[in-house]
Each structure stands twice: as structure tokens, then as C-alpha cells.
């Protein structure tokens, strides 16, 4: 059929509406005081096309409740209302949805079966006047679904606002007839071009960067992951189905009211658990994932197979009505592999932005920083193992490797202890809560926290080295029952150099055998005096307690390099095997990924093969660097 295109001057609009009224009750978008809703109008002036209503005109084709029949004393009265109506101002997405409804409900008629009396008869007694959208609403994506922003078929008339007139396209004999009765002049080529401009402007505003062509071929592979990810938030309200212009599932019930029995069909939702309630009390699709999967497959696969159309038309209503803010356009993009984060190979030299969210003074020259990633995905998922390190950037000053001192029990967040000994660390010390830094990592290997489960573990640490083992110490405390005896032997040059002093009691209370010492006497210090390595020697000094380390303990040692060496020698002299002594080496690490060469010792890279080695391994490296 040749498409006829006419022009309707805006002063003629009222006349247009009166001609429409002769075709039946005219339903159009109008204001009810608070919203725009589809409702019967008497006069053209009541019509408000200023924005796209949330309200769904599906109601006039597939109503919320439909009376099917009445039975009174065995007399069955079927009720088939067929009121002639005109639906004015139907957006192209809804036009496409009505096409789906027709295809779905009409298929009864195809094979000579009885035809559906409700939806089909309503569609047949409806005059559809489409209205092409000049601009989209927040969740519109008809462009991706190929259904808009201008309607191409399945309407009687389609209007586009081209300034002081409407472009009127006819799509049926009825449409042609109406145009003739109005004696509408044909549209000029300028008028038609103007319509194309309006359409292009709308497409541009919608800014769609995806397209669903072929999605039916991949959706089965991707749907489980997508349904799980988005279904998690679903509260099964049913809104997405109810306001979807092409959804048509319904329930049927009999209501006995006195002598009369009414049978009604009413809107139902496949997102409800009870929707698949089987005899025997089992719910077929009990999990929310399975229901979200059903919805996605129906919209993008089953109807495509059934009558060659996606039944999602990109209207965006489901996204608007969802209390959990689940957006259909996001689900489709997820299926297409266009999730929020593009899967690109990461550039390993580019840090991620993070914020300093807490600063504590540990000593006069050591601060502990609590750092949290800015990116919500990282906040959610980033984690590390105890013993690993990160490369921290103070932009403009440089980057330093820092051992993570906290235990990996809260995601997206970690602590580092920093002494202000160089350009970068001095800059870090000047920073305040809320300042931004860069973080790369986590890098390196980790303390053998799994291997020593069920065993005795003794930590020997010196100075700031406690911050390189506090990660596994805290981890073991959080999982205390997984480990046997846990000991901490810790020393520093003086009491002012001890770190985490406010936590020793807490650790003791948590079941750790904590022994603290200072190398030298100091005013106000009443604790142990002597080297930490002397605590487990045969004859410790008088002001130093002797600590018994279990023979089968695994040792973890960290501190200044000299201290590590002496401690390990002493431990071996006491009888511990170097395979059971773990140390963390401080290499001069820069890139953190084994490329720049600074931390290379022999064939090993401290950043990649370490920083944690057994003392036995360390002895194979060759000379100390």
C-alpha cells in the first residue's frame, strides 16, 4: 500500500479530533492534576503531549481485569465488550508492542482454532493514531530495538509535530478515509524533510550506543549470568510486566458473590514466585534468578522465535517502575557484553584512584593510612592476601611500594604504615583525610596463611617490620580457631619506635601470646629490655623474659635486613629449619611487576617471586644486594 502523507495545520487540530470522535471514544494523554495518563477526552484542548506518560495504554487492549463470563443458576453468559475507541498519541514503542500483542493473541485464528475474543476484538475495534516522539525520556531505547522513534507500520495514522503543523502519515484504509474526510492537503517535500529532522534530533538525544540485532543467537549463553546479577535486587513486585506494553500473562479466577459467579482474567506476572505454583505445593521457578531469566528469554528470544519480533520495544517503563532500579537497557547491554566496565586488557602501569579515609599516628615518624578505592566496582571486589604489597602514588612526587598492614576482611579498603623517609613518603605524610592517591596492585606473593592452618605460628618482628606481618597476625586473629598457638615477639630500638601499641592488649585478649621488648632502656619503659632475637635464646639478659617457641612452630620474621639475618641465624641455632622460617624481603622495588630490574637478585625478582621467601630459599640467592 502506498504510504499517503498529509499535512494537518495546527488550527485544524480540533476538527481532526472531532472527526476522530466519530470513530469512537477518543482516549488520549491528558493531565489528571498530577500525572499525564491515557483517559477519555471530549475536547482537543484536553490533550497534553508535552511529555511521554509513564501510564501504559495497553490497558485499553489488555485491561487489568477482564470479565469473561457470569454464571447464574447454570446460565452461562459470556461477556465480550467491544467498544469502538480511538487511541490518540500512542508512541511508536507502544505501536510496536500492540503489534506483538496482536501476533500473540491472533495466532489462535491462524490454524482454524477459535479466536481470542478479547485482545483481538479490542485491537480490531480500535483506531490507532501514533505520535512520533520529538524527544526521549530518561530510559527510552527504542532505537536499539528498532521500534522508534518514528512508527513505520501497524497504525491507522501517525502524527509528527513539524512546527506549526503535523505531518500525517496514513497506514491503513481507515486512516486514508479519515484523511479524506478532513480534506487534508498532501505534504510537501519540505514537510517530509522536517519530519526526518525531528526524528534525527530525537535519535541524537537518546544517544544509544547499542543494538540488539542478533541477540537471540547469544542470549541463551549469557542469560544465566545476567539474570543472576540483576535478579539479586528484584523484589518481585510485578511492575515490569504490568506496565510492559507487550506483556500479556494473566490469571483466571471465579468469584462467587451470592447467586452469581463471575469469572475474571487479570494481570499476572512471571516474576511472581506463585506464578509457577504446581499442584503438590512446589514452585517451578522458585529462585528469583530463574524468573528474571524467564523474563529476559521471553522478551528477547521466545517471541522472536514465535512470531519474529522481540517483545521488548524499548519503551523504558519497566526501568521506571522498578523499585530496585533494575534497568532493562542495562540488562540488554550486559547480555551484549557491554557491561559498565569494558573488558579491555588493563595497562599495568596506570594506578587506580583512591582516597585516604583515615590517618593515625603510630610513632613520631610513622603514620598509618587507611585507603579506599574510589571506583564502586573496586570498592565492592578488590582484595588481597596477607603479605602482599601495593605501589602507592603521591602524584607529582612518585610511587613507593608499601606492605599492606591490614587483614583482607573488608573489601576495597586497606591500611599501610609509612615512615617519612623519602620524597614520596614525606609527601604522603603531609596529606590529609580526603586526599587522593593512586594505587597499583596487589603485587607479590603472600604469607602461607593456608599452609599453617592448624599449626603453631610465631612471628618475630622488628621496628616498622611489624606492619609487614600485622596483616597475617590480624588474619589469624579473625580466624583464631583455625590456628593453634600464635605468638608475637616484637622489638624496636625504643618505646617511641614501637608501632600499633594500642593493639597489643587487644591481641592478647584475642588469644595471641604477645611479647614486646625495646633494645635499650628508656624513661617510662617498664617492659622487656633487650634485642627481640635474644628472647628465644638460651640465656637471655636479666631484663628480658625468655620465650619458649614451640618446636614445631612455623616462623615468620620481618624487620630491618640485619635483624632478619640475625634472627634467622639465631633461630636456626635454636633448632628451627630454614624451610620453616618465612621472611619478607624489602627489595628496592619500583614497577612492582618484575620489569624495571631494581629488585632483581640472581634469577629472582623480589616483587614477583617474593617478597616472601623461606630463609632456605633466600640462602640460594647469592649475595645480599
Amino acid at each position: 500500500m502506498d504510504r499517503q502523507v498529509y499535512k494537518l495545520e495546527k488550527e485544524q487540530f480540533a476538527k481532526f479530533i472531532s472527526v476522530l470522535k466519530s470513530e469512537g471514544e477518543v482516549i488520549a494523554p491528558k493531565s489528571n492534576g498530577v500525572d499525564l495518563v491515557y483517559a477519555p477526552i471530549e475536547r482537543a484542548s484536553e490533550i497534553d503531549m508535552s511529555k511521554i506518560p509513564l501510564d501504559c495504554p495497553k490497558n485499553f487492549v489488555f485491561p487489568i481485569t477482564e470479565k469473561v463470563l457470569e454464571v447464574e443458576e447454570n446460565n452461562i453468559k459470556a461477556l465480550i465488550p467491544s467498544k469502538k475507541r480511538v487511541l490518540f498519541g500512542v508512541r511508536p514503542c507502544d505501536i510496536a508492542a500492540f503489534r506483538c500483542l496482536r501476533a500473540f493473541f491472533e495466532d489462535y485464528a491462524k490454524e482454524g482454532k477459535v479466536s481470542d475474543p478479547f485482545v483481538t476484538s479490542k485491537l480490531n475495534s480500535l483506531t490507532l493514531v501514533a505520535y512520533n516522539c520529538p524527544e526521549p525520556k530518561e530510559h527510552c531505547f527504542c532505537v536499539a530495538m528498532g521500534t522508534g522513534p518514528a512508527a513505520t507500520t501497524s497504525f491507522d495514522l501517525a502524527l509528527t509535530d513539524i512546527g506549526n503543523a503535523y505531518l500525517v502519515e496514513t497506514g491503513s484504509a481507515k486512516g486514508d478515509d479519515i484523511a479524506r474526510r478532513l480534506a487534508l492537503p498532501t505534504a510537501s517535500s519540505e514537510d517530509k524533510e522536517r519530519k526526518e529532522e525531528v526524528k534525527r534530533a530525537c535519535i541524537e538525544k537518546m544517544n544509544i550506543d547499542f543494538n540488539v540485532e542478533g541477540i537471540e543467537n547469544i542470549v541463551l549463553k549469557k542469560v544465566d549470568a545476567t539474570a543472576q546479577k540483576f535478579g539479586k535486587k528484584c523484589i518481585a513486585c510485578g511492575g515490569c510486566n504490568f506496565f510492559c506494553p507487550s506483556c500479556s500473562c494473566f490469571n483466571v479466577t471465579d468469584i462467587a458473590d451470592g447467586k452469581v459467579v463471575r469469572r475474571e482474567q487479570f494481570w499476572d506476572s512471571c516474576l511472581y514466585k506463585g506464578f509457577t505454583w504446581l499442584a503438590g505445593g512446589v514452585f517451578e521457578r522458585a529462585s528469583i534468578d530463574s524468573r528474571m531469566k524467564q523474563r529476559i528469554l521471553r522478551k528477547l528470544l521466545y517471541t522472536k522465535e514465535h512470531f519474529n519480533a522481540y517483545s521488548c520495544t524499548g519503551c523504558g517503563r519497566c526501568s521506571q517502575v522498578c523499585p530496585s532500579y533494575i534497568y532493562m537497557e542495562d540488562m540488554i547491554k550486559d547480555l551484549l557484553g557491554l557491561g559498565k566496565e569494558e573488558e579491555m586488557p588493563q595497562n599495568p602501569y596506570v594506578p587506580k584512584l583512591a582516597t585516604i579515609i583515615n590517618i593515625r599516628d603510630l610513632t613520631s615518624d610513622i603514620k598509618s593510612f587507611t585507603i579506599e578505592f574510589d571506583d564502586p566496582e573496586l570498592k565492592e571486589n578488590w582484595t588481597f592476601k596477607p603479605g602482599q604489597f601495593v605501589e602507592v602514588s603521591a602524584f607529582g612526587y612518585g610511587e613507593v611500594p608499601l606492605s599492606i598492614s591490614s587483614s583482607p576482611t573488608s573489601k576495597g579498603q586497606f591500611e599501610v604504615a609509612v615512615r617519612n623517609s623519602g620524597k614520596v613518603t614525606i609527601a604522603l605524610h603531609k596529606m590529609r583525610i580526603g586526599d587522593k592517591i593512586g594505587v597499583r596492585g596487589p603485587y607479590g606473593n603472600w604469607w602461607p596463611y593456608e599452609k599453617v592452618k592448624g599449626k603453631n605460628v610465631t612471628i618475630v618482628a622488628g621496628g616498622i617490620g611489624l606492619a609487614a606481618v600485622s596483616n597475617i597476625l590480624r588474619y589469624m586473629i579473625a580466624n583464631r580457631l583455625d590456628y593453634k598457638k600464635v605468638q608475637l615477639l616484637y622489638g624496636a630500638v625504643g618505646p617511641d619506635a614501637l608501632v600499633f601499641t594500642d593493639e597489643y592488649e587487644k591481641w592478647r585478649k584475642a588469644g595471641v601470646d604477645v611479647h614486646i621488648t625495646c633494645d635499650r632502656r628508656a624513661e617510662g619503659w617498664t617492659g622487656n629490655v633487650g634485642l627481640v632475637t635474644a628472647m628465644f635464646n638460651e640465656n637471655p639478659a636479666p631484663e628480658l623474659e625468655k620465650v619458649e617457641i614451640p618446636d614445631d612452630a612455623t616462623l615468620i620474621v620481618c624487620g630491618p635486613p640485619i635483624m632478619i639475618n640475625f634472627a634467622c641465624q639465631d633461630l636456626m641455632r635454636t633448632g628451627f629449619k630454614p624451610e620453616n622460617i618465612y621472611i619478607s624481603l624489602e627489595g628496592h622495588m619500583k614497577c612492582g611487576i618484575g620489569k624495571c630490574g631494581h629488585c632483581n637478585i640472581g634469577t629472582k625478582y623480589v616483587c614477583k617471586d617474593g617478597p616472601i621467601f623461606t630463609y632456605a630459599e633466600r640462602q640460594t640467592f647469592g649475595d645480599h644486594h
Partner: protein, 692 residues
């Protein structure tokens, strides 16, 4: 009513979120409901109960005619006969046994206007303060606790502010199931980068999104809240400026001394609460280091014998962090019933008139007497009986007549075997929309009109007063509750409760209630405020109040901290009854089920009673998935299906209370918070036996 199809804009009747929706009416039938796009809170959204709100309204089982019990059977009578009978009996009982032998149970499901009339009936006609309603069973702790701490016992901030909070602590609220629209906003806040901390014994849906989920033993909230504050003080994270400027110093020091004591260190409360100290520390620091932070809570905080202390502790926490009086912060109790906030506001409580003006205050009494044109000396000057006290007093025959409107204590009160014994004694009048188990016991049943059949107002949890509008005529011969009460009063010889309509009642509420003074019938039906106004709204120029205690200026002046010591629940598991029972609700159903069990789509979602049981416990008991079990407590027993799930931890079981065929409240204990008189629905001891 005209026959053209129409949509009626009204407020939802289920929960306290206060969503609006359209009731679709065709040929005098309400055929469905759709959301309201421009409503500021619901924003075009509804939960399953909102979408299917129409399913109960014109149900065939609606009470259509007044009934009087004659010879143990209900007989249909005329309104005149029923109302005269009630009026005569009440007059007689008042004369013979005194005003205080009569009690009135008002309804959080009725409108503000109706609740106001009921408390006026009780106080001006009967002359007793024995008037109360089910807020007693849910948020009485909130009203008492926040009034003591801040001077005002309501949600301090507004719902939409949650979207801008940087950390939200949700405790004792299964928000995505009970206040779904609010739960959705919390999820969206998380999506936008907020931190979410959930403290709840069960692994509710919201917990799956939490940055930290702490699973405390039900009934141990004061310890973990105190431990949170212990950590905050230890880490120096309290807001010293705010404390200095806005809190009462002595009360603060006393509270600080208590919570910083060793007793409340996370390591020492760990055994009590079952929360690992490391996790608690992480959570406390996370909450304290993100601003603004909001606390959201519901029944898990309030329904305990320490309900008031739990609420005060939430108040303490937010005060020391400077989160009160700031946008996006606050203490946000989520009120359950759609109008429980309003019923409290208009004085349907045993201790206050409307606007929380105390009944024991002679100035308040004089004010009401003047407004009502009665003699102040005729008024009851003592605090009256509260909900559960009323019932027990009926059992002891101190209460001779009980007038119950829109409440179902036979399912909602604790220890219902005892409730039944009590309710069988007095002259019982029940006014409701369905024949509930409570109505079954009545001497007179009066059929009331539902929310869709009358005009009036509801007040939501964020203090917004909005309109309900009549969509259809009352079903059968039912009448609006305010009319019924007025008729009874008239037939007792008093005009005090007779009004032309709800507008005139609201006019009176505006006069006697300062916080409602500017919330007039005209203003909330206008184009300017189509969705109502939030109190305090002191005059007709005022645009309502989004959040309370702005900039730390508390309603009572300075915020008051309270030092709360832990008091264990009244009944904990022991050798004979080894499981900890906690009760609650599920999304598709509403409370005693009188509406939702009759709604075809809602009931289909959860058609039968069940109990959540941890797989380890199920194994030990030899109970299979969906097997029937008998659960008993010292009060009673019920049989129901076991849903084996790790949503509860071993040792704890959960039973929703909606199912009258296996009512959870047969098991619960009548133990109360001493101040708020709210029952402890969240902790009692039960044993479980497998049924063959």
C-alpha cells in the same frame, strides 16, 4: 456514583512508606491499581501489595451487615438495633462499674480522623484514657525512646534523603520485603557508592548487598550498639564539636563512661552477641568514617523487652557522630502500618492527647476540655491501660467492656491462648471489614468501610500526611468508622463525636495539634500540595518539614544521651526449649492476614505457614525440607512446614506471624519493655519435634 471508568488518586493502605496509587473503578468495581508517576517518594513504583491492593476490597467475605451474637450464633440486625444495643450496654457498664472499666482499641489501619474521634470518644464520652492501638506492639519503643533522646518520637529525616547518605546502617529491618520502595532506595544508594552495613540475625535480601553483615543473636542489641560506640570513642571518631554544642554534657559523660568501659569492648560482647570483634570494629569504623550516615531500623530494634533502650542507643550512636539534624543522616524508624504514625500523632495512645500532649498535664487536659466543650474535672487524669494491659485486665474482669476497631489481637498479640481466655470475658464490640478471629469472639460485630470507601488522611513514616479518597460506596451496609463511633456516642447522649464528615474532624485536629496546624484539608487536596505535607507544619503558610532537629537544634533543646546497660530477654533457650524463636513478616502478606490471605495473588506467593530452620538443626532433628513439624513453647504449640534454609543461623528459628492456622503468637511471650509496654516478639524459647 457515576458509571464512567475512573481513576481515584489515593494513598496505599498497607505499609508506612506512603506510596500513592490510582484505584481503577469500572461499574462500581475496583478492578486494579496503577502507580503514580510524579509522587515524590514512590515515583511511579509499587510493591506487589500495592499493585494488587484491590484484591481484598470487594471480596465476598466482606462484612456487610451488623451482627449480634444471640445464643452463640451471629444474627444479622439493623444498624439501629446494633448501635442502640452497644450504646445501652456501654452506658450501663459505665454507670455500674465506672469509666475505667471500659477500654477502646483504636486502629492504625483507620484514618487520622477516625483515630481522633475514637480517642475523643474514649476521653469525652466514656471519660477514660484506656485508649490505645497497635503502635504499642510495634513502635511504642520508638515513640518513647526518641522522645526522651531528641524530644520528638518520629523518623528524623525523609525517605529520599537515603539516596544521598554515604553510609546506611540497617538493623532489625528486612527493608526490601517490608518497605520495598524504601529498600529499593537503599540498594540504589549502594549502587551510587554508599556503604551498607546490615545488622540482622537473618541473611535477608538486603544483607547480600551489605559491605558488612553482622549476625547478632536476637535480643542482644544494646551490647553491639554500645560496642560500636566503644570503638568510635577508642578510635577518636566521635564528632567533638557537635557533642560540645548540641548534647547535654552530663548525660553524655555518663553514657560515654558506660560504653567505653571494658564490659562493652567488642571482644567482651562477642560471646553475648555472637558478632566477631574484628567484624564489629570494621563496621563501627566504616559507619563512623562516612558522612552523612543514616540509621534505618524497624521491629528488630523495637520489639524487645529492651526496646526503648535499643532505640535510645541508636539515638546515642547518631548523636555522638553528629548525624542528627543533617541532610542524609538521622535515626529513621520505618513505621509499619500505613497510619500508625498518624494514629499516634492524633492521640490514640493511653498516655497522650493529639500532638503528644500528656494526659497527666492539667494544662493539656484543660486545653482539650475547652476544645471539646466538656468539663476538665470529668476527664481521666491518669495514664490509661495499654493494648496488652487492656486485654489482660479484661481477663481479670477489671475491664468489663472492650470496643475494638480495626485490630486483631487474637492473631497479633503475644501468647494468644491467654488472649482468647481474656477476650471471652468482657462485653466485646468489634468493628472491622472482615470476620477476623477476634471478631468471632465478639458480642457485636459492626461492619466498617475500607480505605477505598471513605475520605480521610494517613500519615506516613516520614511524617507526611496525605489523602485517601473514596472510590466506591461502602460495601454492603458497611459504614465509615468515624460515623459508627459518632452514632454510638449520640445514642449514649453525646454529640461530641458527631461530625458532618472527615474534613470537619481534620479542622478540629488542626486546632488542637500544633504540629498539624498547617496541614489543613484544603491544603493537602490542592494543586500546590497534591501529595500532602510533612509535620511539623505549624501554620498555613508553612511548607512542611523535611528533616527534624536541623543543625543539631533538638526539639527538646539539647540532645540527651542515655547510658543503657544490657538486660537479657525474658526467656532464652534452655535444655527443655533449646531453640531461639524470632517472629516477623514476609513481603506478600500483611500482619494478621485478614486482607492479604484473601487476596488471590498475594496469598499465592506464600500460601501456607512455615518456619525457617537451619540445615544443621534440621539434620540433628531429622527434619526434611518441607516436612511438618510441631513447635512448642511454654505458652502453646503449632504445627507447620519446615523451610530448611541457612537464612537463619543454627539455634535460631523464624516464623512469620500471618497464618491464623498456625499463629506464631501462640508461642510468643507476654514480656514487655517496662516503659513502652511493647511485647518481646523477637525472643522466646521453643522446642521442635518432627511430625510423622
Amino acid at each position: 456514583m457515576d458509571k464512567k471508568p475512573k481513576r481515584v488518586l489515593t494513598t496505599c493502605v498497607y505499609c508506612g512508606t506512603g506510596c500513592n496509587l490510582y484505584l481503577h473503578v469500572e461499574n462500581d468495581r475496583i478492578i486494579g491499581a496503577t502507580p503514580v508517576e510524579s509522587h515524590p517518594v514512590s515515583q511511579g513504583k509499587l510493591c506487589i501489595k500495592g499493585w494488587k491492593i484491590h484484591e481484598f476490597i470487594q471480596h465476598p467475605e466482606r462484612l456487610k451487615k451488623p451482627l449480634i451474637k444471640k445464643d452463640g450464633q451471629f444474627v444479622e440486625v439493623t444498624w439501629d438495633e446494633a448501635l442502640d444495643f452497644v450504646a445501652t450496654k456501654l452506658k450501663e457498664i459505665k454507670k455500674t462499674h465506672g469509666s475505667k472499666s471500659i477500654a477502646c482499641l483504636s486502629s492504625a489501619k483507620c484514618t487520622n480522623e477516625e483515630n481522633y474521634v475514637m480517642q475523643k470518644f474514649s476521653r469525652a464520652v466514656i471519660n477514660t484514657n484506656n485508649v490505645d492501638h497497635c503502635a504499642r506492639l510495634c513502635h511504642a519503643s520508638t515513640v518513647a525512646g526518641l522522645a526522651a533522646a531528641f524530644g520528638s518520637g518520629a523518623m528524623t529525616n525523609s525517605i529520599n534523603e537515603l539516596l544521598d547518605s554515604k553510609v546506611i546502617l540497617v538493623t532489625g529491618s528486612n527493608t526490601t520485603e517490608q518497605h520495598p520502595i524504601i529498600g529499593g532506595k537503599i540498594l540504589e544508594a549502594k549502587e551510587k557508592g554508599a556503604k551498607l552495613i546490615v545488622v540482622d540475625p537473618r541473611e535477608i535480601q538486603l544483607a547480600k548487598f551489605a559491605d558488612i553483615h553482622l549476625r547478632q543473636l536476637s535480643g542482644t542489641d544494646v551490647p553491639w550498639l554500645n560496642s560500636f560506640m566503644h570503638v568510635i570513642f577508642e578510635e577518636g571518631l566521635e564528632d567533638k564539636e557537635y557533642i560540645k554544642n548540641n548534647l547535654e554534657p552530663e548525660a553524655f559523660e555518663e553514657m560515654k563512661k558506660l560504653v567505653t568501659s571494658d564490659k562493652y569492648s567488642p571482644e567482651n560482647t562477642e560471646k553475648l552477641t555472637a558478632i566477631h570483634s574484628e567484624d564489629l570494629r570494621k563496621a563501627a569504623i566504616m559507619f563512623a568514617t562516612h558522612k552523612p550516615g543514616a540509621v534505618v531500623y524497624s521491629m528488630g530494634i523495637t520489639q524487645h523487652i529492651q526496646g526503648v533502650d535499643n532505640v535510645k542507643s541508636c539515638g546515642n550512636l547518631q548523636m555522638i557522630l553528629g548525624n542528627i539534624g543533617v541532610y542524609g543522616g538521622g535515626v529513621n524508624p520505618l513505621r509499619g502500618q500505613q497510619n500508625v504514625q498518624g494514629a499516634c500523632d492524633v492521640g490514640a495512645l493511653a498516655n497522650v492527647f493529639s500532638g503528644y500532649q500528656p494526659v497527666v498535664d492539667p494544662v493539656a487536659r484543660a486545653k482539650m476540655a475547652k476544645a471539646w466543650n466538656i468539663k476538665a474535672e470529668d476527664m481521666d487524669d491518669k495514664v490509661g491501660l495499654t493494648v496488652v494491659e487492656m486485654i489482660h485486665a479484661a481477663g481479670e474482669e477489671k475491664i468489663k467492656a472492650l470496643y475494638i476497631m480495626g485490630e486483631n489481637p487474637m492473631v497479633s498479640d503475644p501468647d494468644i491462648n491467654h488472649v482468647k481466655d481474656c477476650l471471652e470475658k468482657p462485653f466485646l464490640v468489634v468493628q472491622d471489614i472482615f470476620m477476623t478471629p477476634t471478631a468471632e469472639l465478639a458480642d457485636v460485630v459492626l461492619p466498617a468501610a475500607s480505605f477505598a470507601e471513605k475520605d480521610g488522611t494517613f500519615t506516613s513514616t516520614q511524617r507526611t500526611v496525605s489523602r485517601i479518597r473514596k472510590a466506591i460506596d461502602p460495601v454492603g451496609d458497611s459504614k465509615p468508622d468515624y460515623w459508627i463511633i459518632g452514632q454510638i456516642a449520640e445514642r449514649m447522649g453525646y454529640e461530641y463525636c458527631t461530625y458532618p464528615g472527615p474534613k470537619e474532624i481534620m479542622d478540629e485536629i488542626n486546632c488542637v495539634t500544633p504540629s498539624y496546624a498547617g496541614i489543613t484539608w484544603e491544603r493537602i487536596d490542592s494543586q500546590e500540595f497534591p501529595f500532602g505535607l510533612a509535620w511539623p507544619c505549624p501554620n498555613t503558610e508553612h511548607k512542611g518539614t523535611m528533616f527534624l532537629h536541623k543543625d543539631g537544634k533538638f526539639t527538646r533543646g539539647k540532645g540527651k544521651c542515655h547510658a543503657c546497660e544490657y538486660v537479657p530477654p525474658a526467656e532464652e533457650p534452655d535444655a527443655e526449649y533449646p531453640f531461639r524463636l524470632t517472629t516477623g513478616r514476609v513481603g506478600p502478606h500483611w500482619h494478621t492476614g485478614s486482607m492479604t490471605r484473601r487476596s488471590i495473588t498475594l496469598d499465592r506467593e506464600a500460601p501456607s505457614a512455615y518456619m525457617e530452620l537451619n540445615p544443621e538443626d534440621a539434620n540433628k532433628l531429622g527434619v526434611r525440607k518441607n516436612q511438618m513439624v510441631k513447635v512448642s513453647s511454654r505458652r502453646g504449640e503449632i504445627c507447620l512446614r519446615a523451610e530448611v534454609s541457612s537464612i537463619v543461623l543454627p539455634g535460631t528459628v523464624f516464623i512469620p506471624f500471618h497464618f491464623i492456622e498456625a499463629p506464631a503468637n501462640k508461642l510468643t511471650i507476654s514480656a514487655f519493655d517496662p516503659v513502652a509496654k511493647i511485647p518481646d516478639y523477637k525472643v522466646c524459647a521453643v522446642k521442635i519435634e518432627r511430625l510423622k
